[in-house]
């Protein structure tokens, strides 16, 4: 039988309380520096938070790998889509001339952009890989206006923390933090491989975030809402996918 000495007991007690207060301080700091994702609750919250926090510390400014034009995949694979709504079919029939991207929330000047307005902005393109969480991936050239440019046009208020983006597809919305929103490779994408963005790939307008997997790259974007409060949307987990068990942060 082992006997527990008093010294050992005191040492263990001290170590345990130091560990607990250390954790509490770490949690405070993580909250303060924006290292806690909206879906940090539940049994998988630990893993989600460790992944998001460590990637924010390591990758805030890093650029997704870019490729040469010769590496562009000849047949980009658009994943399956729900059948289009009547509203979408009307827009498609009209060549998307009336498609609007409305930007609101914590901004100085709420604004609505047509696709032509967005094409009139300075454009940026990158040849990057779209990787699906299922395991497949392809490389394409993505052309669009940097999200940071659109945000600068509407004047984002300093307390903003998240950009929510809504799709014309029913029940499809998502959000990203300011690090991703202001990242130079984050595009509101309207063209692909030199042509108009095909509808199966999200035309006329798709969010393109090459540092996160496919499902964060929502298609058919119609609205951006700048906010400091994720709780105001759905169940407060930051994206509709998190309500079905998928992580809000998908850089992994």
């Amino acid at each position: 039988m082992t006997t527990v000495s008093r010294r050992k007991l005191i040492a263990t007690g001290l170590a345990a309380s130091a560990g607990a207060s250390g954790l509490a301080v770490a949690a405070r700091l993580a909250q303060k520096y924006g290292l806690v994702p909206p879906d940090h609750g539940g049994i998988y919250g630990l893993g989600e938070t460790l992944t998001y926090a460590s990637q924010r510390l390591l990758t805030r400014h890093s650029l997704a790998r870019e490729f040469s034009a010769s590496q562009i995949s000849p047949r980009p694979f658009p994943n399956e889509l729900d059948p289009p709504t009547e509203e979408f079919k009307r827009h498609q029939a009209a060549g998307f001339v009336d498609w609007r991207l409305s930007v609101g929330g914590m901004v100085a000047q709420p604004t609505s952009f047509s696709i032509a307005d967005l094409k009139g902005c300075p454009s940026r393109s990158h040849i990057t890989e779209l990787a699906c969480e299922e395991g497949w991936s392809y490389i394409a050239e993505w052309i669009g206006v940097p999200l940071s440019h659109v945000l600068s046009l509407v004047g984002v208020l300093p307390q903003a923390r998240y950009i929510f983006y809504l799709s014309m597809e029913p029940n499809t919305w998502d959000s990203i933090d300011m690090a991703d929103a202001l990242h130079p490779q984050t595009l509101l994408c309207y063209a692909m491989n030199g042509n108009e963005l095909p509808v199966p790939h999200g035309g006329p307008l798709r969010m393109r975030l090459p540092r996160q997997v496919g499902y964060k790259n929502k298609k058919f974007i119609t609205r951006l809402t700048v906010t400091d409060n994720v709780k105001a949307f759905g169940k407060g987990l930051g994206c509709i996918d998190a309500e079905y068990g998928y992580a809000w942060y998908a850089g992994i």
Binding site: I43, E48, T59, Q71, P76, N79, E80, E133, E134, G135
Partner: protein, 261 residues
């Protein structure tokens, strides 16, 4: 026999800390408390990673080499299993339910716990010289004859010698070192290479493996190698005496110790 060279009893190892308890003959535990705790945390994580990894694989059971690959390109090979996605051609007439949400969450959480546990194990193993004392084989261990004995004996279902309850034989030492310092680092590396965020900060971790899809294929094969290790490991534990060996990894005491004291 040549292999007995490494099979000393770990007699004095625990002497300094135990000296005050006035039991000078007390043996060190077969496995230290840290080894026991990290062993079982790793076991739990391994099963969580295996289950969630298999779930993720069935959403796209096709594997490629190079940077890219989709259902529109030719795979290197395809696992003969049904898929949880409609657009993957499998030859099965049905589609399994999508389990990727919780599978991905469990996979990454278990990976975090396994990696942090592994770091603790490796650092303590270096500090306490556990690797040098218990895992680095001696010259005599490394002769072909000695190594072959440890393959042929279990194949004849001969249980290990009594001394092997206290120390690993040469083949075990090589196997554990291979798993700890080759397979685990490789599976972590190829897994991290699949993280788009991680790869943006450390692009070489993908390019050195030959591209994203190569990394995914390597991740599968290293995982299969670890599963093979698990089967052999459990088979050898059964041959040596499942309860005594498992008890040693839980309590630290070997079954044979009672006879010595």
């Amino acid at each position: 026999m040549a292999t007995f060279g490494s099979a000393q009893l770990p007699a004095e190892a625990s002497a300094p800390s135990q000296a005050s308890t006035a039991q000078p003959t007390k043996l060190a535990p077969r496995h230290s408390a840290l080894v026991r705790v990290t062993h079982w945390i790793t076991t739990l994580c391994f099963f969580a990673l295996l289950l969630s990894g298999s779930e993720i694989v069935i959403s796209h059971p096709r594997f490629y080499w190079g940077e890219t690959g989709t259902v529109l390109t030719k795979p290197l090979f395809q696992l003969p299993v049904p898929s949880s996605r409609k657009l993957v051609p499998t030859g099965y007439g049905y589609v399994l339910p999508d389990q990727n949400g919780w599978s991905r969450a469990l996979h990454f959480e278990a990976a975090w716990i396994a990696v942090l546990t592994g770091l603790l194990f490796v650092i303590s193993g270096l500090v306490t010289r556990h690797f040098r004392k218990d895992l680095v084989p001696s010259k005599a261990d490394l002769s072909w004859r000695a190594l072959l004995t440890h393959v042929s004996k279990p194949l004849r279902f001969e249980p290990p010698s009594a001394a092997e309850a206290f120390s690993y034989n040469g083949l075990q030492r090589l196997t554990y070192l291979f798993v700890i310092f080759i397979l685990f680092p490789l599976v972590i590396w190829s897994g991290l290479a699949l993280s788009l965020g991680f790869a943006s900060a450390f692009p070489w971790c993908v390019t050195l493996l030959g591209g994203r899809q190569s990394a995914r294929t390597i991740h599968l094969f290293v995982s299969l190698a670890l599963v093979l290790f698990l089967f052999v490991h459990v088979a050898m534990v059964c041959l040596a005496g499942f309860w005594s060996r498992t008890a040693a990894m839980i309590t630290g005491r070997t079954g044979g110790r009672k006879e010595h004291t």
